[in-house]
Symmetry: C2
Subunit: 220 residues, 2 copies
């Protein structure tokens, strides 16, 4: 095997081992020494494969974001089979139903991959900013929320729509995050699904009188 | 000074020093050794004052919850001067405005006390469950959200109202938490205020057809 090829293999093994540790024991359990022992290289050799632990964690988190994106995309897929909406109200109802399906897909992903999902939010870079590829991966997820908003707030500028998508995502994230938080009295998943549905439906219905509620002025 | 009195003084100094460290450098910077040096006692003597660092952090977080509660209560105070609502719609509008003021008060508290506020969510107990007094302090905050919900969802059972209050709080928390998160593109506070207002108003308006939207069945 060529050197570059062997390095690539080792790097892949390192990422998968880091993912396994994060998924089973959580981000805080990730230690360079254990990783080196598991993939069978010297401690210092890890840093020939990745820049530092931050980069390794971002590579794992990038895979988590990709897996999440897969679920979000799947939640929208059955729209293809939907008949064309017959009127403005039906189009709105379909858009709200799509938002609900996105939120439920997010909840189910978080509940089913809780330690990997927590690592997305618990990881802090030590010093460096987040690389562009990772920021792009994050922002792409908001795009799924923006699509139904084209129907629900057709008058919004792209900047306002993007901001609103982020707020909607954040609201659903808040319900999921505090609902799955064991520090508070934990909420059963069926109840949590109902709450996410209720709040997202209420937001969708309540956005009806946009832009009466918020004028489409420049963002402060 | 009597021994008990001196112990009480030292304990108070320890709590205040821990709060100072959390407020200025964050929860992760809290170390027993530094605390002992600052309050002028031996390292082991700390554990005559508090059971462990968990208890000390909870005492600090309890003060943070009390400060937050003060702001939430203040945000509702000017209701006293309000005229009695003249009809059902006006009563709903006032209830929605109260929810918005609670959410804005929460945002402003978080933005103005960011490291103390983060410590509320970042702290994890090592082994023991949270004590009842702390759980009670947490739950009391949800009570502020429940009050306006009496007007907005009058048919809801107390259990459903409590669950909905928690979801509403969580939604606002999500917007605040991800909005103030420096990992994502940070949102200016004026924009964040507008987004919180928009989403909470939308939820309030969208709850109008409760219980049509969610039947008041037993909680799953």
């Amino acid at each position: 095997m060529k050197v570059a090829e062997r390095r690539q293999h080792l790097r892949q093994a390192l990422i998968e081992e880091a993912e396994r540790i994060i998924a089973t024991r959580g981000l805080a359990a990730l230690k360079a020494r254990d990783l080196a022992a598991s993939v069978g290289c010297a401690l210092g050799a890890i840093y020939n494969l990745v820049l530092d632990l931050d980069e390794l964690i971002l590579l794992v988190n990038g895979r988590t974001l990709a897996a999440l994106e897969h679920e979000l995309a799947a939640s929208q897929a059955d729209d293809v089979a939907c008949p064309r909406p017959r009127g403005a109200q039906q189009a709105r109802d379909i858009a709200i139903a799509r938002l609900v399906r996105l939120a439920i897909a997010y909840l189910d992903f978080a509940a089913g991959n809780i330690l990997r999902w927590r690592a997305l939010f618990d990881h802090r870079m030590s010093g460096r900013p987040l690389p562009d590829w990772y920021l792009d991966d994050q922002m792409r997820l908001f795009g799924y929320v923006e699509e139904p908003l084209r129907i629900l707030v057709p008058g919004a500028s792209p900047e306002r729509r993007a901001l609103l998508a982020r707020s909607l995502f954040s609201a659903a994230h808040g319900i999921v995050a505090l609902g799955l938080e064991e520090k508070l009295h934990q909420i059963p998943i069926a109840s949590l699904r109902e709450q996410v549905t209720l709040i997202v439906e209420a937001i969708g219905a309540g956005l009806e009188d946009w832009p009466g509620r918020v004028r489409d002025e420049p963002i402060p």
